[in-house]
Amino acid sequence: MSFYESVFVNVGIMIIIAQGVYVITGLTGLFSLGQSSFVAVGAYTAGFLATRFEMHPLLCILAGIVVSILVSFIIGIPSLRLRHVYFSLATIAYCYALQAILTVSETFGGSIGLVGVPVVTRWWHVVLGVVATVWIVRNFKLSRFGLACLSVRTDELAARTYGIQTFVSKQIAFSLASAISGLAGGLLAFNLGYLSPDMFTVPVSSEYLIMVFFGGLYSQTGAVLGAAALTVLMELLRTTAAWRMIAYSTIILIIILVRPNGLFGTWEFSLDSLNPRRRAKHGLAKGGEGV
């Protein structure tokens, strides 16, 4: 695997993670600062099965997704009842807690980490993952479930009067986001071959959030391109050595201040938008959330 391929794989994994953040934050309006923990759950499950039972990577990743979904219910059922900022708080708590548990757990390698996961992720695996994730998230967004999430985000009370169960909508979005993060975690495990608890901290989660904001919180396209742009930017800035983090944070801050809606705002890329006739027929949104 060449350097470019590994950058590409990293970009792909970040795009997948950003799709998860988009579902929970962009669509549903919940600010999760614990998204990295779901990546951790996927990664550790996959890595553990691969090292301990030498299972096929695909099975490991699937298992990671399943466990992520299960955990999303354990975390979601109490914390999604909390409102607004309290939810963010609960996710921070979850992130700290999971880190502490991974650190003390001998099974998962403790602070030394999980060593010896086979390095098998190739670029086409990631392409498959990205395409599948983007497609599924797009479907979800356009379906009644996605619309329900959007309604909950904009006006929870009104949504309830239309018979939308806000808690159920949030839980669905949360679980979907977790499943996506779990997939990204699995790919990460097989890309890096090594996992340690300090790879999945609260600041890492906040970086994911910032990534989605950078591209445009309310745009799926923005989430994809924001994640890609910032991952590549980080790599480009490698040569600036000690200035790297300052330059990176400054660039993001300027974008957030100049374009609070992110680079793409609410604009969505769509094959249909390239074709004026279909655009008219399907009645694509001009300025809305995209259809």
Binding site: F3, S6, F8, S111, G113, Y194, M199, R238, A242, R244
Partner: protein, 386 residues
Amino acid sequence: MKRFAVILAILLVAFGSIAHANEPIVIGFITALTGSTSLWGTQEANGAMLRAEEINAAGGVLGRPLKLIVYDHKGSPQEGVLAYRRLVDEDKAVAVLGTHFSNISLAIAPVAEQKKVPVLGQAVEPKVTIPAPGKLNKYHFLAQPSCIEQGQMMARFAFEELGARKAAVLADKSNSYSISQAEHFAEYFKRRGGEVTDFVEYAAGTVDYRAHLTQIKAGSPEVIFLPQYAQPGGMQVKQAKELGIEATFLGSNSLSDPPFVAAAGGAENVAGLYFLFNVNWSEPKFEAFINNYEAKYGEKPVTYHSLFGYDDVTLICEAIKNAGAAEPEAIRTAIEGLTDVPIMLGDGKFTMDAETHRTRNMPSWIMQWNEAGEIVPVQLVYPPAD
């Protein structure tokens, strides 16, 4: 994929400054230039660049100049792996130096096995070179005594020289450097017949250790082992003094950092503390190094990590010389065979153990902080054979 690669290549050329002259030998160096551990990283990079300059001034290696490329890993394993890949694939490095973080070296190790470009680092975790019993990472080497050896050396010193029979340990569970040393200290100390009154582990991000220290105090140990980085170590000593703990403190090599004394609240708090150290700065051989360092960077070396960088370059150049070719595979074989190479750390001689890919019988110094805030050498100790 291809177009992506082309665009990225153009951008990289625009950003980077890759010049080619007289076919230099490219050596990569991965360290922390940003983030909370960048003090050490910068020291390492400075030491390495100083050494590379010296070698180039003396005619280079195999008649070719050395080109050292330093990349940041900002404390993250993913970043470390990307830096390694970039060094190997883009910069065509024939060998890579760094890191002294076990977590990052652990992540780089499997990639190095695929890329077959050797890595020489300073991590202390034995799993970096031996991921599982009976399995050796062919392309990874460590140039510092392992955490097993460091923990045991300190335990033996406490048991034999200080005559301590009751010890307590305070370790960061989230930091493998800390917890591994602590475990091996306790294991050795107990094996020799000592008692470990308390083995307290704490979690990342703790700043207040008085709960832990109060517990340790209750067991009234004679010595307390603090295998720590400078900042937590300093805060622990300071808070222990506040709580009136009178036991003798033992520490790891990071407690040599001047920031440790500052964080501990001054020289009077650290006076009497013994710690294991890779280097005896008072030896005359360091005078030239310190002067050259100061001439180049305008300040004296802050921590001993500058010597990590310095020695890493010395070792890799020796290996290239012995290999007779700047080829990764040849260098790898040559590193395995490094014997009695003159270096700065330890007792000034370096021998690689081809079985473990770690140093063979590399000694460390037991040092002590005195009232004046100076480091006083106590004795040179070798890893216990048992």
